[in-house]
């Protein structure tokens, strides 16, 4: 049964009294605007310290070099909105990149090498989703297990060697469309499409309903279990798309799991305004948060702070965001 339910908007404060446009914008996208403001402020300050910060070269590094994280964070946002989590996405991207690169080197047409990670990602995550939805194992446990299986499996199979001699046609992340780098185009188009889909489609709204209150969602006729599997499958597809960008950005693919990638992706989703309790958040926020991290990472270098402090800064940032989210909720109740 397809559930076409008329769900209230996620942040009901705006609908009730019909306040002005700006106020509504802030009520609906408060967190996203905060992140955007932080990015702009950071750009202004760092550029004053070191004008080379806004050179075309550095901008490409910031936006294109991290687009794959933003794409993966779109799927992660959907998973967290539904009230679950996936700590295995970094390992998944590592596995998919190796599959994609191996196919490309073996001489298969490049479109097969691009399609394979998407399909395999969807299949693997369908299994994870089924274990979460039907076997009722908490997603943190399933994905922790999947993380070790994929990490261990990848290293045992490849021995950690690098894949080299990638065919030039395969390296799509290094090309550009209409003068714009492909990763940037991917990031923007996928973010906009996913944001519209999550805000306006019945399916998208049902994810917020499930994350807000799974029992109530079930009572309104939403097939919660099937939707949960579907969300993980979609998340797998985004992981596959992210893999295409990740695997093709350099001339080689390291056949190991990118360290802490899952943490970066989860952090992007959470900072972008996805409530850690499920039930709210947008992919615009997660993409902006990815850009914010990339900007911070780059800024640290430009103002001569050791890159070893990057993770501490990001950790502090997550903590501050999470605390602000909890305080805001408490204020509203």
């Amino acid at each position: 049964m397809s559930a076409v339910v008329d769900l209230p908007p996620t942040r009901p404060a705006s609908a009730a009294q019909r306040p002005g446009f700006l106020r509504r914008l802030f009520a609906d996208y408060g967190q996203e605007l905060v992140v955007l403001a932080a990015i702009i402020a950071l750009f202004v300050v760092v550029t004053m310290v070191n004008p080379r910060f806004i050179s075309a070269n550095n901008l490409t590094t910031i936006f294109s070099g991290n687009a794959y994280i933003a794409v993966a964070a779109i799927g992660m946002t959907m998973v967290i909105v539904t009230g679950h989590i996936d700590v295995s996405v970094g390992a998944l991207i590592g596995v998919l990149a190796t599959i994609s690169g191996t196919l490309a080197v073996a001489g298969y047409p490049v479109w097969i090498a691009w399609l394979a990670p998407v399909l395999v990602g969807m299949t693997i995550n369908a299994c994870i989703g089924a274990l979460v939805a039907y076997a009722r194992i908490p997603s943190i446990v399933v994905t922790l297990g999947a993380l070790s299986i994929m990490r261990g499996g990848l290293i045992s199979v490849t021995g950690g060697t690098w894949i080299t001699n990638l065919p030039p046609d395969f390296l799509i992340a290094q090309k550009s469309v209409l003068g714009l780098p492909v990763p940037l185009v991917f990031m923007v188009v996928l973010t906009v499409l996913a944001a519209l889909w999550m805000r306006y489609s019945a399916f998208g709204r049902s994810l917020y309903a499930i994350g807000g209150n799974a029992e109530a969602a079930l009572a309104t006729g939403i097939p919660v279990e099937r939707r949960t599997v579907a969300v993980f499958v979609i998340h797998g597809a985004f992981a596959g798309l992210a893999t295409i960008l990740f695997a093709t950005q350099l001339q080689v693919i390291q056949s190991t799991v990118p360290p802490n990638l899952e943490l970066t992706v989860i952090t992007a989703a959470v900072i972008g305004g996805v409530s850690i309790l499920g039930g709210s958040g947008t992919v615009i926020g997660s993409t902006l948060a990815t850009i914010l991290f990339a900007t911070i990472g780059s800024a640290l270098i430009f103002v001569n702070v050791s890159a070893y402090w990057l993770r501490a800064v990001i950790g502090l940032l997550i903590l501050a965001t999470v605390l602000a989210d909890m305080l805001r909720r408490r204020g509203r109740i």
């Binding site: 943190i140 297990g145 261990g152 943490l263 950790g315």
Partner: protein, 314 residues
């Protein structure tokens, strides 16, 4: 009835452990020797200490993902306090353990004061504490500790590795606390129904704060033992150890939803994992293959216990 099902899970697990030990001792002559088994005990102490504290945390329905980072931070600080600040080594180690314990306290404060879900709070501090370790160390390691310090991690007392005594003492004390004290019973009550526990007048917040602090202390102690065992400090120490600890706890029959679990179960789970790791490597399987197997064991164990539980309640 609850006690019976608990006993059944642990008995089943213990039998599995015996079976694994028998199979592995046939696979390799070097496995079932006193020196190898004691050495394995040495290797599992750090995970074991963390897993004991984690059993309490998970039994309340919480989780602590930051333990690996606290371990790394403590290790780095031990080296830095000793070498850079010139403190005597015992004071440096004690200071580092104090910081690690405070890190655990901070987790608890974030979780109880701001009602942040433990998963997210400790995921954030996982990044923060590891980041502090990396920032403070600037990727430089500290070596050359005095010989007496290695007694903790490499020495023996009465023919048994020093740290195994610590682990055994911790396990006995913890199981008595969890099973027989009012405080231990509070842990189960919180895990079964937090709201009801609060209405029954139990000090839910205080208990949770104490548990996360204890978890930080256990990770910090494990950090110092780790440094003593491997003779050096590096900022990436203990990466992923939270996974091993959680696997041991969950394999040992502690419900990830809280309300159920014992220290004995955790210790059996711990031995089972260590036996598998060691036995497989002696049988020629590489470390990465073992990681895979542990992931699969984790998922299958929970799947099996979920199925048993469902058939039991009906």
């Amino acid at each position: 009835m609850n006690w019976k099902s608990l006993l059944r899970h642990e008995t089943f697990l213990a039998l599995l452990l015996v079976a694994v030990l028998i199979v592995l001792s046939f696979q390799s002559d070097r496995f079932f020797t006193v020196s190898n088994l004691l050495n394995q005990g040495r290797l599992m102490t750090e995970i074991g200490l963390i897993a004991i504290a984690m059993t309490f945390v998970i039994a309340t329905g919480g989780i602590d993902l930051s333990v690996g980072s606290i371990l790394g931070l403590t290790a780095i600080l031990t080296g830095v306090f000793w070498q850079k600040l010139g403190l005597p080594l015992p004071a440096a180690a004690a200071g580092a353990i104090a910081v690690g314990t405070f890190a655990g306290f901070a987790n608890g404060a974030i979780i109880t004061r701001f009602s942040v879900p433990p998963l997210i709070a400790t995921l954030a501090t996982l990044a923060l504490y590891r980041g502090l370790a990396e920032g403070i160390s600037q990727a430089r390691s500290v070596r050359g500790y005095p010989d007496w310090f290695y007694v903790l991690g490499q020495g023996e007392v009465l023919g048994v590795p020093t740290q195994l005594w610590i682990l055994a003492a911790a396990a006995i004390i913890a199981s008595i606390i969890l099973a027989y004290t009012r405080w231990g019973r509070t842990v189960y009550a919180i895990g079964s129904n937090e709201v009801a526990s609060r209405f029954s007048g139990l000090s839910v917040e205080k208990t949770k704060l104490a548990l996360y602090t204890a978890s930080g202390f256990a990770a910090a102690l494990a950090g110092v033992i780790f440094v003593s065992r491997v003779s050096t400090t590096r900022s990436d120490m203990g990466t992923g150890i939270e996974l091993d600890a959680i696997t041991a706890v969950v394999l040992g029959g502690t419900s990830i939803f809280g309300g159920r679990g014992t220290i004995a179960g955790t210790m059996i789970g711990l031995c089972l994992i260590q036996a598998l790791k060691n036995g497989l490597s002696l049988a020629g399987v590489k470390g990465d293959g073992t990681i895979m197997l542990i992931g699969a064991v984790l998922i299958l164990a929970i799947l099996a216990s979920n199925l048993f539980e469902r058939s039991g309640t009906r």
